[in-house]
């Protein structure tokens, strides 16, 4: 059953340029080379969008620092499959806020040819480096689909603290005085009975301790 489902999801597109032995995730379009190795490794998810992960029981057994891990699924196909399986979902619209940005500059060493990427205005001002790409700000967060959902374990109790390893909603995890704004991608959270209260502080990066 699982193998049939995998073939359905990772089937080679008949009209695509996918070579023999390659598989394509129909959810996110990732081409995965060497089908045989894929199955021998017993991987059960698309490495990019993690679609098939919901078909395994492990999703509900994962623990992170003593907290139950809440699985996020993305894309219409994954959400439909999860519903077909009778899973309880909290569906949310996934749109990355324009607020998040990380700057970078690419430099090349004039003698060795080494290429480096820097992110701090105070770095890389030596004459031995020439600029390949000048300061550019990018939003590093991208979602391949606006559809996303958390899989809610049926025994999740109101007030239970959990770990979410792929946060759907937008929260700032840190701001740098050089203009960079970081998005919170994982967080601890508390189930309110209807939604998750995201504890931004648990994975904030404005201040590091450790």
């Amino acid at each position: 059953m699982l193998f049939k489902r995998l073939l359905d999801i990772f089937r080679t597109k008949p009209n695509s340029q996918t070579k023999k032995g390659e598989i394509t995730c129909t959810e996110c379009g990732l081409v995965y080379d060497n089908t045989l190795r894929f199955f021998k490794r017993e991987a059960s998810e698309c490495p990019d969008c993690q679609y098939v992960k919901i078909l395994t029981d492990k999703s509900f057994d994962e623990i992170n620092d003593g907290l139950r891990v809440i699985r996020t699924i993305r894309g219409e196909t994954a959400i439909k499959a999860a519903k077909d399986m009778g899973l309880k979902l909290l569906e949310l619209r996934a749109e990355v806020s324009d607020e998040f940005k990380v700057k970078y500059k690419k430099l090349q060493h004039r003698k060795t040819g080494e290429i480096i990427t820097i992110g701090d205005f105070r770095e890389g001002n030596g004459s031995e480096w020439k600029t390949l790409v000048n300061w550019t700000s990018e939003n590093p967060s991208k979602f391949f689909s606006p559809f996303a959902a958390y899989i809610i374990p049926k025994d999740l109790k109101k007030g239970e603290r959990v770990f979410i390893n792929d946060v759907i909603t937008n929260h700032v995890s840190g701001r740098w005085n050089q203009g960079d704004v970081y998005r919170l991608s994982k967080s601890e959270a508390t189930w309110t009975g209807e939604d998750f209260y995201i504890d931004v502080r648990s994975y904030a990066i404005g201040e590091f301790i450790g």
Partner: protein, 85 residues
Amino acid sequence: MKINPSNKELYTDSGTFLKRLHCPISVMWKDMSENGSNTRMCSGCEKTIHDTEHLSDAELEHLLTNDPQACLKINLNQDNVKIIH
């Protein structure tokens, strides 16, 4: 010093790896009690946390050589920290 915010790895300005910051207890610096001029006591683990704002790379290396498990506090906006990716 330099820090990579995504993996919290700390390096000297010359690129020597110092440590990877990790704390399983979610305690904020402002919630800790002062126990020295640049240190505070963590109520979660009762360890002393060192503020790196006024430490040079050499002082930091010396601190971590003597105690590799020493806990540090680094603010993204302090002047002696560069951000790397």
